[in-house]
C-alpha cells in the first residue's frame, strides 16, 4: 500500500513514460494480481494543468495506481470553475465509478452533482468537512503540517538574521496550517525568529510572488518559505535560502532550496480504492491520510545541502520524526490566517 512513498522514486522518470505505456502495463499486470479483479474506472478533474504542484501529486498517485492495475484512469485538466459541474456530470454519465478532483471553489455545486449520482464515489479536495447526508462524497486535503514543521526546524537552524519571509497565494486553511506548522518548527531552533507574511491574491502569478519575495529580502529576510512559484527564484537571484512546499524543487534550485515538505497522495487514493472495492466508500475526511504517520507526507532528502545543516537541527528532526511516527508528537493544526510577527 505504501510502495509509492518510497524515497528515491523518480517522479520525472515516471511521468515521462506515457499514459499509453502505463495503460498497457496496467492491462498486463492487472489480471495477475490476486486482489485486483477489474481496474476501477477513475476520472480526475483538475482546474489547473497536471504539472502544477498540488495537482501533480494527485495525478502522480493515480498514474501509479493505474500502472499497478488498480485504476483505469483518465483526467481532464485546466477546467474552469464555471465548467466544473458539467465535467463532473460527463464523467458520471459515462460509467466512471471513482471521481477525484478539487472543489475548493465549487463546494456547493460539486455536492449537488454528487447527490445526483449516489452510486458513484467522489473523492474531492475541499476546505470543508464531509457530510453524512451525502454518503458518496469524501473529502481530502494536503495535511502535510508534520513535514512543514520539520522543514521549519531546519530553516530556523540555517537563518542568520532570524528574519523569515513567507509568500502565500490566498490564506485558505490548507495554506495557513502549513505556514503555522513551519513557524512552530522555526521557533524550535530559533525562538527569536521574526516572520514576514504576505499573500498575493493569486495562485499562479510568479512575477508577483517574486516581487513580493524581493521586498521581503530588502526588508531583511535571509530565508524564504516558498509556498508559490517565483519565491525560490527571488531567493536564488539574491543568493539566500528557501524551503520548498508540496513538491521537491531542489533540482531547479540546487544552491537555494534547503529542504522541502512533500505531499504523497498515494495513501489517500489507496484508501479510496480499497473502500470502493469493498463497497464501503462513505462520507469521510481523508485528510488524515496526508499525515506523516500514514505515509502521506515526508521531508525531501537534503541532497545538495547534505552536510551543510547543523547537526543539532538534524538530530531534532530525527527525534521529532520518530515521535510523530509513534504518535507521541502531534503537530498542531491551525487554520487561522497567519500574520507578520
Amino acid at each position: 500500500m505504501t510502495i509509492a512513498t518510497k524515497p528515491g522514486f523518480s517522479r520525472r522518470r515516471f511521468l515521462t513514460t506515457t499514459a499509453g505505456v502505463a495503460l498497457a502495463s496496467g492491462a498486463a499486470f492487472g489480471p495477475s494480481r490476486l486482489m485486483a479483479a477489474e481496474p476501477i474506472k477513475c476520472a480526475g478533474i483538475y482546474t489547473v494543468p497536471v504539472e502544477q504542484q498540488w495537482v501533480s501529486r494527485i495525478h502522480k498517485a493515480a498514474m501509479i495506481a493505474q500502472e499497478r492495475g488498480d485504476l483505469d484512469y483518465t483526467f481532464t485538466e485546466n477546467v474552469s470553475n464555471t465548467d466544473y459541474a458539467r465535467v463532473m456530470r460527463e464523467y458520471a454519465e459515462s460509467g466512471y465509478t471513482l471521481i477525484i478532483g478539487e472543489m475548493f471553489a465549487v463546494e456547493q455545486e460539486a455536492r449537488e452533482v454528487a447527490a445526483e449520482y449516489p452510486e458513484i464515489a467522489f473523492l474531492m479536495g475541499s476546505s470543508f468537512k464531509p457530510d453524512d447526508a451525502l454518503p458518496n462524497m469524501a473529502v481530502f486535503d494536503n495535511y502535510i503540517q508534520d513535514a512543514s514543521y520539520l522543514t521549519g526546524i531546519i530553516a530556523g537552524s540555517m537563518t542568520e538574521t532570524g528574519n523569515i519571509g513567507m509568500v502565500g497565494g490566498f490564506p485558505i486553511p490548507e495554506v495557513n496550517r502549513l505556514m503555522h506548522a513551519f513557524m512552530a518548527g522555526v521557533r524550535e531552533t530559533r525562538p527569536d525568529a521574526t516572520f514576514q507574511v504576505s499573500f498575493i491574491g493569486s495562485w499562479f502569478d510568479p512575477p508577483k510572488a517574486k516581487e513580493t519575495a524581493f521586498a521581503m529580502i530588502e526588508n531583511g529576510a535571509d530565508m524564504l518559505y516558498a509556498e508559490r512559484f517565483g519565491v525560490s527564484d527571488a531567493a536564488k537571484e539574491q543568493g539566500i535560502l528557501a524551503i520548498g512546499n508540496v513538491i521537491d524543487t531542489q533540482a531547479d534550485y540546487p544552491e537555494t532550496v534547503v529542504a522541502s515538505a512533500i505531499w504523497h497522495f498515494e495513501p489517500t487514493l489507496d484508501k479510496a480504492i480499497e473502500e470502493v472495492r469493498a463497497g464501503t466508500f462513505k462520507a469521510a475526511d481523508y485528510g488524515v491520510y496526508s499525515y506523516m504517520i500514514e505515509g502521506g507526507s515526508s521531508i525531501a532528502p537534503l541532497g545538495t545541502f547534505e552536510g551543510k545543516v547543523p547537526q543539532e537541527a538534524l538530530d531534532l528532526v530525527e527525534s521529532r520524526t520518530a515521535e510523530i511516527l509513534s504518535g507521541a508528537y502531534v503537530t498542531e493544526v491551525n487554520d487561522e490566517e497567519p500574520k507578520s510577527q
Binding site: R11, R12, L15, T16, T18, V48, P49, E51, Q52, Q53, S56, N78, P171, Q196, S198, F199, I200, G201, S202, W203, F204, D205, P206, P207, K208, K210, E211, T212, F214, A215, M216, E218, N219, F229, G230, D233, I247, T249, D252, K339, S340, Q341
Partner: protein
C-alpha cells in the same frame, strides 16, 4: 516614517519600473488601436499568447530576441483576426475583443499541451538578465531604477518614444489619428481607412504580445496559464488614464506599478499587521480609479472610437 523611507529607496523604484514594463508595451499597443478608432479587448488573451509564444520559442532553442519577435508575430496574427472582424465587417468590437481573448487563451493552452504533452513542472528558460548601463546607473535612486533593468525594459521605454514620434511627427501617424477622429476625411484624402485601422490593430496587438512575453522572458523564466492575471484589463484603463497620449500612458503605467510595489512593502510595516491584506492588494486599483477620475475629465476621446466605417455610407 516607514513609507517615506520606502519611497526614497532605489530598490522600490527599481521594482516599480520592473512591474511597469509589461504594462508599458501593452498600454502602447492598446493606445495605437484606439487612436485608429478600434477598441481591442483581445488584449488579455493576446498577452497570454505572447507570453507563451516567446517563451516556447526560446525553450525550443531560439535566442531571446528571436523569441520576442515570435511573440510579436503571434500578437499580429491575433490582431489580424480581430481587425478583420471589426474593421471590414464592422462587427461589435466588444464581442469580437472578448472572443479573441477567449480564443487566444484556449489556443495557447492547446498549443502548450501539444508541445509539452508530459512535463512534471513547467520548464524554465534562460531569461533576460539586468544590464547595467555604465555612468547613468550611478545616479542616486533613478540610476539603478532606470538604468539597471533588463533589455526588454529599455525596449519598452524606447517604444514609447518611437510610438509618440510616429503618431505626432509622421504622415502615417496623422492618418492613423485621423482614422480615429474623422475617418470620412481620411477617405476623402484617398487613403484607405480599412488598411490604416487594420494595420494599427495588427501592430498594436504585436506590442501587447511582447508585453505578455516580458512576463515569461524577463520578469520570470517559465510559463503559467493565469500569469497575465488581469494585466491586460488594467491597460485598457491606463489608456483612458493617459488620455490616449503615449507619454501620459507611460506615467500611468509607472504610477500603477509604483502603487503595487508600495503595497507589497507596506504590508511588512506595522500597519500591515492590523489591516487585512486584501486592502493592500486593492490599493493600486483603487488609487488608479481615483487618478482616472481626475485625469479623464479633460481627456479627448478619439471621436470615432468604436464607430465602424463603411466607405461611401453617409
Amino acid at each position: 516614517m516607514d513609507i517615506i523611507d520606502i519611497l526614497l529607496s532605489a530598490s522600490f523604484w527599481t521594482a516599480a519600473i520592473r512591474i511597469a514594463s509589461p504594462l508599458i508595451f501593452a498600454v502602447l499597443g492598446e493606445l495605437i488601436c484606439e487612436r485608429a478608432g478600434v477598441l481591442n479587448l483581445g488584449i488579455e488573451g493576446i498577452m497570454v499568447a505572447g507570453a507563451f509564444a516567446g517563451w516556447m520559442a526560446v525553450y525550443s532553442g531560439t535566442d531571446l530576441w528571436t523569441g520576442v519577435a515570435v511573440a510579436f508575430a503571434v500578437g499580429m496574427l491575433f490582431g489580424l483576426v480581430h481587425s478583420t472582424l471589426t474593421v471590414p465587417f464592422g462587427l461589435s468590437q466588444h464581442v469580437v475583443g472578448l472572443g479573441v481573448t477567449l480564443l487566444a487563451t484556449s489556443l495557447t493552452y492547446f498549443a502548450y499541451r501539444l508541445f509539452l504533452p508530459e512535463v512534471t513542472s513547467p520548464p524554465k528558460i534562460e531569461a533576460f538578465q539586468p544590464f547595467e548601463i555604465p555612468l547613468l546607473s550611478d545616479i542616486p535612486i533613478i540610476g539603478p531604477a532606470l538604468f539597471n533593468q533588463t533589455p526588454l525594459t529599455y525596449l519598452a521605454f524606447i517604444s514609447v518614444g518611437v510610438v509618440a514620434y510616429i503618431l505626432y511627427r509622421t504622415p502615417l501617424g496623422l492618418a492613423l489619428r485621423a482614422a480615429g477622429e474623422n475617418p470620412a476625411a481620411v477617405a476623402a484624402q484617398g487613403l484607405s481607412v480599412t488598411a490604416i485601422r487594420m494595420g494599427a490593430v495588427i501592430a498594436g496587438s504585436g506590442l501587447m504580445a511582447v508585453g505578455g512575453a516580458f512576463l515569461t522572458m524577463s520578469a520570470f523564466d517559465s510559463f503559467f496559464f493565469e500569469m497575465v492575471n488581469g494585466r491586460g484589463w488594467i491597460c485598457i484603463a491606463l489608456v483612458v488614464f493617459g488620455a490616449w497620449r503615449p507619454g501620459k500612458a507611460l506615467l500611468g503605467a509607472i504610477l500603477f506599478a509604483a502603487f503595487d510595489a508600495l503595497q507589497i512593502r507596506v504590508q511588512q510595516t506595522p500597519m500591515g499587521a492590523d489591516i487585512p491584506y486584501q486592502i493592500f492588494l486593492m490599493m493600486p486599483y483603487i488609487l488608479s480609479i481615483l487618478a482616472l477620475i481626475v485625469m479623464s475629465r479633460r481627456a479627448e476621446v478619439p471621436a470615432a472610437l468604436m464607430v465602424p466605417f463603411n466607405k461611401g455610407e453617409r
